[in-house]
Symmetry: C2
Subunit: 428 residues, 2 copies
């Protein structure tokens, strides 16, 4: 077969890595797919910008349609990100029978199902391994490795920025704002960190993982999201003293075909394998009915790790081209989506309450828990310097989210409770 | 398409799990492959034995040829183990155009290349995900997930029995023989534990992983093997006090296309992710030039985890049947195998020497290291009750295996050295 011609949309961090791997490993790649692979055209914003990798000036274009409409191009590698504009470009590429490899989690979380349907209709592949946990091949693991199993739980540290911040806060005792600034200076966090720190990025990735794991189309709005901006040093201190690490966890669960997906800062038992995933690393923990506990660990972002996944997808697309089997990606979403109600979502909780420091208060608190059917696992009232208020640290046994919300509402109208300082889900 | 008919060779632990999954998940499996899957015939040793899973008596046979020669059977699932006899059966099945799914590490480590070549010739698949690290989809990860990368190092805890024994020795301070007996009583170790405890089982698995990771056919005799039977409580105590865990690690390394593969008890820095893999769990750490550090963790054996991998392979074979692309497994071994010499194999070492407790001995020891070009990282001489001999705990900087062997030979002929009590490779 002739040379496989690739159109590359984007020459930022990941795009640069893709060029490096396709050129640096060209012999290995050719041995695997049986044809030379060449990057034929590259979409850039600024034709004259200095590049971190040598590229032939004549391959550059600032017009995406120049690439999409090039009949010589077989595969489009999309690493420019964004949704508006990008979706139209990908759509048109599929219309023209081009295969797609993308690292775009936003695109796949929001428009994955329609793009996959379109690809199927046109006999095209659309692969997106790099869209979640950059260097970890978790998507093919969920689709192929666990095809025979029923996955019951996926927990992911899928956002490196927040894991970096929480790790630093925990290891160095620094405050959230301080660590965020440091992360921004190091390039681990963006100038506008909202999407990372408020959990939106993680929610998009969990949408993709839950869809694959549970074989039902989960939408972004199905994900209950809370970020890390309210995590305090005090919370981390209490977590540590109780034997937990604080992690921003995406949690997707299934029971009797009812599912729930959430992202929130979570107290994770230090003995759980995901508790020791630190810094910018990502990890995805998968529990299957048959396989039991597994975990996949690696870099979540970065030029070369993400490019590794992108080019692995490119290899898969080209192998499919050779076999003439593109566009046969199984539709994994053959199950109807049924979301759990708050009554069906269960977990353990940690709670830090500021209460009046007087006789009878503990009894009132205990009564609320008892009446609303929430069983307490432990209570701790540390000595406080201020004699007028006390801190009450409560952990619960497994309870429903509904019952927990009822407890929180009851505390809101209980005068002895000055403030609900923090509430965390507890895992492991 | 009609029902896919499977011939199952073996109804032990894994075979029972395969029956459970194929029957229990039949709807899910049918949704994925588009046809019902049925287990048509089952090879057993004893037709009248009580079974842990209900099977139709009429499906049982004690003659493997009855299955292999059945023209209705599309896929053979081999979970009986062994090499003699098994290879002939698999060979004949391939001759007759049947696809193979096997969990047999011995078969694949010893005869993988010829079986894969035969399968290719006959247009058949032979998949073997379950042969290494039962529940961890590491084989497809190495073939597909990292197809674009150059893997430089694979470290595996791939034998659950020895990891269980070392974990118990470390956590409970029990002696090797004692823990081995306990493991045998629990069914974690076999009556004849040689293959596990002497590292042979791990070596077979590392042969398979190294072949896939380095794209060159590694043979069992290329693996340098040492087991755990000489690991003492003292070694574990010193490891702990220096910040290491003792693990039976398979280590496959590549540098400039020269490779080495070994299995040995190793001191692993506790901060390394593989150091905290405990009990019967397995983990495979993979370092790639582009991706950096990744690790895959899960159950290494057991009925359901291993059966998950077997049935995932079965799903893959059937999908290939539907697409008409069986037998197109890429030959991953397209590189010439070049083994490192002892001069090229480098690592850090730990050493426990019993030496005479008199003036000048430390100088003599230091001189040997110095003359043979091995740089010392740390020396410790703990106080000993017996005044006539001293213990010398040495860790080295990275050095070649050749230089280390020279040092050991020199100590053999140095009268001040009473005994080389232990030597360990150090990682992380």
């Amino acid at each position: 077969m002739n040379t496989i011609k690739v159109g590359l949309l984007g020459l930022g961090t990941v795009g640069t890595g893709v060029v490096r791997i396709v050129e640096g490993h060209h012999e290995d790649l050719q041995s695997q797919v049986g044809s030379p692979i060449t990057i034929h055209k590259i979409l850039v914003k600024d034709l004259d910008k200095m590049r971190n990798v040598p590229v032939d000036r004549s391959k550059l274009t600032d017009d995406p349609w120049d690439i999409v409409r090039d009949p010589e191009i077989d595969v489009i590698v999309e690493v420019m990100g964004g949704i508006a504009g990008t979706k139209e470009v990908i759509w048109e590429a599929l219309e023209r029978g081009k295969h797609i490899v993308t690292a775009n989690k936003d695109l796949m979380a929001l428009h994955g199902p329609e793009l996959l349907a379109k690809a199927h209709e046109k006999g095209c592949d659309i692969l997106y391994e790099a869209s979640v946990a950059g260097g970890i091949p978790i998507i093919r693991t969920l689709i192929e490795g666990f095809s025979s199993d029923r996955i019951t739980k996926i927990m992911g540290i899928v956002n490196g920025t927040t894991n970096y911040i929480l790790t630093k806060m925990s290891q160095e005792g620094a405050a959230y704002q301080e660590v965020l600034k440091e992360a921004q200076a190091l390039g681990y966090a963006e100038a506008d960190p909202t999407s990372d720190v408020e959990g939106l990025d993680a929610a998009r990735k969990m949408t993709i993982l839950a869809t694959l794991g549970f074989r039902a189309t989960v939408a972004l709005e199905d994900v209950d999201v809370k970020g890390i901006s309210s995590v305090s040093q005090e919370d981390i201190w209490y977590a540590k003293s109780l034997g937990y690490a604080v992690k921003l966890l995406g949690i997707a669960e299934r029971q009797d075909d009812y599912i729930s997906v959430s992202v929130q800062p979570t107290f994770v038992k230090v003995t759980h394998p995901i508790a020791s995933v630190n810094g910018v690393f990502n990890a995805v923990y998968v529990h299957g009915e048959a396989v039991g506990e597994t975990m996949f660990y690696g870099p979540g972002a970065g030029e070369m790790p993400t490019a590794t996944s992108v080019v692995a997808d490119l290899v898969a697309v080209i192998k499919n081209m050779k076999l003439g089997v593109n566009g046969r990606q199984a539709n994994v979403s053959y199950k109807e989506k049924k979301l759990k109600t708050d009554r069906q979502i269960t977990s353990k909780y940690f709670m830090n309450l500021h209460v009046d420091d007087r006789a009878g208060v503990l009894m009132q608190i205990a009564q609320v828990f008892s009446e609303l059917g929430v069983s307490i696992e432990s209570v701790m009232q540390p000595p406080t310097p201020n004699s007028r208020d006390a801190e009450l640290i409560v952990t619960t046994h497994k309870t429903s989210k509904e019952a927990m919300n009822n407890v929180l509402n009851a505390f809101d109208s209980l005068s002895a409770v000055q403030k609900i300082k923090s509430v965390y889900r507890v895992e492991g």
